[in-house]
Structures are given as C-alpha cells and as structure tokens.
Amino acid sequence: MEYAKQKLAEEKVFKDPVHRYIHVRDRVIWDLINAREFQRLRRIKQLGTSYLVFHGAEHSRFSHSLGVYEIVRRILDDIFHNRPDWDESERLVVLCAALLHDLGHGPFSHSFEKVFNVDHEDFTREILEGDTEVNSILQKVATDFPKKVAEVIGKTYANKQVVSLISSQIDADRMDYLQRDAYYTGVSYGHFDMERILRVMRPVDDQVVIKSSGMHAVEDYIMSRYQMYWQVYFHPVARSAEVILRKILQRAKYLSGHGYKFEQPPTHFLAFFNKTFTLKEYLALDEGVLMTYFQLWMDERDPILSDLCDRFVNRRLFQYVDFDPGKDYKKMGELVQLFNRAGIDPEYYLIDDSTSDLPYDFYRPGEEEERLPIHLLMPNGDIKELSRLSQIVDGISGKRRTDYKLYFPAELLIDGKKKEIKQQILELLREGGV
C-alpha cells in the first residue's frame, strides 16, 4: 500500500489534559511525531518566560502541536468528511501542516528572533524542505509533498479553505493554545465551548464558516482570547523577563564582537553572532542549552552580562512604569543622560516595551483590510460577517489596545552611590506618564 494511505495496525493515543486523548492512525503522522526535529519541540516552552509569573506554564510546543493536530483531525474526520465543499484529497496535507506548524520555533523565540534577526517561519520551511528526518518522511508521500505542507503553513497554498483551518481568526492553532495555556497557567479565562464550535463548522466555497446557531460559542471564544492576551500573554512581569533575556543575548553578542574573552565561550551562539548559522546549528539550540549558558555566565567578569543572567535565572526582574511615548519621548532623552551620569548603562537598564492586540477585525467591502473575517452561515444559506450579528463582537471589533511600559532596575536607583542623580531619575519616572 502506498505510504500516504498506510494506517497503523492499532490506533495510538496520547493522554492529553486538554483534549483527553490525541488519536493517531496515519503512519505518516506517527513517523513525523517520532522525527528528531519534532521531538525537539519537547524542549521548547510554549509560553516562553511566562513560567516566571504562572509557575504551571512549563508546557511545551510539542504538546501544543499535538493538540492542533487533534483538533484538525476531528474537524476533518468527524465534521467535514463527505461534505460536498470539502476536498478529501487535502486531508493529509492539512493534518501534517497542523502537526508541524510550529516546527521552526527556537528557544525563547520572541527574544531570540529579535536579537538575531531571524524568523521561525523561515526555519519551519527549511526543516520541511531541507535535509531532515521530517523531510525524508514527507518525501515518501510524494516528492512535492514537503513543499505543499510548507505552503499551507506559509499561507501561500492555493486552497484557502485548507489554509484557514490552520491560520485564521478562528483556527485550530488558537483554539488549542487558548485552552492549553489556560489549563497550565491555572487562570480562569481561556475556556470556551470548542465542541460546539467544531460541530457547527462547515466548508463552504473557499472558506470555513460557522453555522449561525453557534454564534454565542464563537463570542465566548473571542472574549476568551481577549482576556488571555491581557491577563497572560502580555503580563508586564513576563515582559520584564523577556526584556532581560533579550538584553542578555544582546550583551553576549556585543562582547563577542568586541574581543571579550569569555570564561565560558558562547560556542553555540557564535554562528548567530556572525550570521553564518546553518539549520543544524539552529536545531542544536533549545531552552536547556540557553539556560545552561545563563547559569555559567553569572560568573563572567563582565558585570552587565553576569548581572543580567543572575536576574533572569534567579528572577530578580526589572520594575516598570507606564509610559506614553507620544508625550514622553523627550523625557526619555533626559533619562538616558541621567542613567549615563549615574553609571548605569541605559542600553541594558532602561528599556521601553510596547505590546498591542486587536481582538477581532472584519473586512469592510472596499476597504483595504487584510484579515479574513469570521463568517456565519444563516439558515437560508446566506453568509454574514460575525460582528454584523453579534453586539458583543461588534463592541470590540477593530479596536486595538496598546500598552507601553518602561523597564528599569529599581534597586540600583535606591543604593547609596550618586544619590542626587538617582533621585532625579526617580522623580522623572514618577512624574505623570513616565
């Protein structure tokens, strides 16, 4: 039998706290799960530094990836199967894309990508199409199959219905991470009736729509998402840890480029400092590797690197105040000067950080929006955009919320040295806005 159609002699199941069980019958999926590049995801946390705020949030991208696969499998096998607008021949490519959509994430992706100017989506594509175990498995399905999976994940696949299952305003990725992250952080947000949403999903033309009878379940999902972003994903203390992490990597890169002799040479990072990295070098990194360096760098002679590592490892994070860049950018100039005069390097110890989210947006005919809206299927067959029918969703549609913070090491500003300058800094920080 051809590889694409091979089934396991017995169904394999993974016990999962969110979906109870994850079911695998396809040989291809089983082989992909066992590939070394997929197993690597066990060593990368789904929520990066959030575990420093929510101690339960130690779950990995491995479990999230299995969860997304399971949701898509249920949609295809239980809901879409034999429906006229669904092309059954797309089943395997969607399942593989669901399973592998986060394959290129690295350790603490958000900070790592910013400092080294790389993009996990490029690595996902490289893993799928390069010399890897995952690629050799996908190649056994068909020579162009790795490329097809990469196109679905990259949103350039011709069949938009397939893309929207993995990536849209109501997709399997979001449905898994909201519930999983809520479970592991222990917060009471993030819960919604996924069973109901899955049951009312329908393939229509080139999109996936929701039967209008499921509108309230979708409202609940959107509100869950909104609350999770502001209560968990954008938590200011987790952002403080992200800021320190970013500064550690930035400092190590700076030192390496300026001839500093490390006690513990940054062997695993050199190719990234020099922009000569290969996929193999990228895959050799995981969060265990980074944490080991951070532990060892606490004993480096460079006071900034050792201090930042100590802060991250031992959770001595930066304090923060609200900051309005529109009004306060001139004061920032003053603060930078005062930090320099106080002997505290503002490049590493005075950091502005902004984050924003748009809970839901819709496409207004004639306007140049880019987000595919959630469409409801009415009993008479008409399609209507969600916010036209839902007052709750209408209330938050298109409304971006942004939060600015300024991070700094509070305890360095109250020690005895250069007291007057530090007093001025504290006064500026306390003044309206900054």
Binding site: P325, Y329, M332, E368, R400
Partner: protein, 164 residues
C-alpha cells in the same frame, strides 16, 4: 528607543504622504526586500505580503499624533491617506537619521498603483523560486487578479531598477 517608529515617520515624510493602507504595506515590504532596515515582520495574507506589526505601528503613531490618517470616501470604496504632522516631524528630527539612503525610491514607489505594488511585492515574496515558478505561484495565489504578461514584465524590470 522608538527608532522603528521614527523610521516609519521618516519614510512617510520622504514619500510626501501615502494614500492607501495596502500601498503603504507593500512599499515598506519592497524597501525591506532591497535592504532598507525596516524591522517589521511580514507574512503572506490576502493581498500578498502583509505586516501586522506595521499596522500596529501605524495605529500607534496615529494615536501619538505623529501621523495623521484621513479617510477619503471614494464613490465605491474608502481609502486612507497618511501624512506626517508637525509633532511627527519634531519627533523624527529628535530621534533619528533618515532611513532611506536613496530618497528617490520613496517617490518612485509612491508613483505606482496599489495593484502594481501588490504584484511587485508578491513576486518578491517568492524570489527564492526560479522565475517561471515565481510567475506560476503568482497566478496560483492571485488568480482572480488576472495579471497580464506585460504587467509581470514591468514588475520584474521595476525590481531590477530598484536593486541597482
């Protein structure tokens, strides 16, 4: 700090205003592809390469009062015109140096239609493919737009000119 915001303000100022969200998105993408150091991350969306980060940054700049967004109601559609305010110019002058080495690029890109920039940006998104594959991919993801061979040829020439 706020350097990335200042770059966007500087670009819109150099371009003497930009009309259309899609156009602005594609202009920044094209410049990024030819090496202008914009940091916004792009993904492939409905109209081709699109950056959620850029959208957020523009909205932030409007909230800060550094960029003005004016809604222009055309008969069958609406579009948005972005210009830099006095406060925005002051912010740009306080924070940064010009982002573009060649200011002419901004004017030239601004002279093109949104459709042409969408075509050009989409071709550039697939520039790791051979030319034939690039065109095939364009037709596959943008079939409804029916780009002609002439338009595609023009877009390739334009990319070559920009890279010189």
């Amino acid at each position: 700090m706020l350097q990335e915001h200042a770059k966007i303000v500087d670009f819109i100022s150099t371009a003497e205003g930009v009309t259309g969200r899609k156009k602005l998105q594609k202009m920044i993408y094209i410049l990024k592809k030819i090496g202008v150091p914009f940091q916004e991350k792009y993904e492939f969306h409905i109209y081709g390469p699109y950056s959620e980060e850029l959208t957020a940054r523009i909205e932030e700049l409007c909230d800060m009062g550094f960029i003005s967004e004016q809604k222009e109601d055309k008969s069958s559609y609406v579009q948005y015109r972005y210009t830099v305010t006095e406060e925005g110019l002051e912010f740009r002058n306080a924070l940064g140096k010009p982002v573009l080495e060649n200011a002419e690029h901004a004017i030239r890109l601004n002279g093109k239609s949104a459709r042409f920039l969408e075509l050009t940006a989409t071709l550039m998104f697939f520039d790791d493919l051979a030319k034939g594959e690039q065109i095939a991919k364009l037709h596959s993801v943008k079939g409804k737009l029916n780009f002609t061979d002439e338009e595609i040829g023009e877009a390739f020439d334009f990319i070559d000119e920009l890279k010189q």
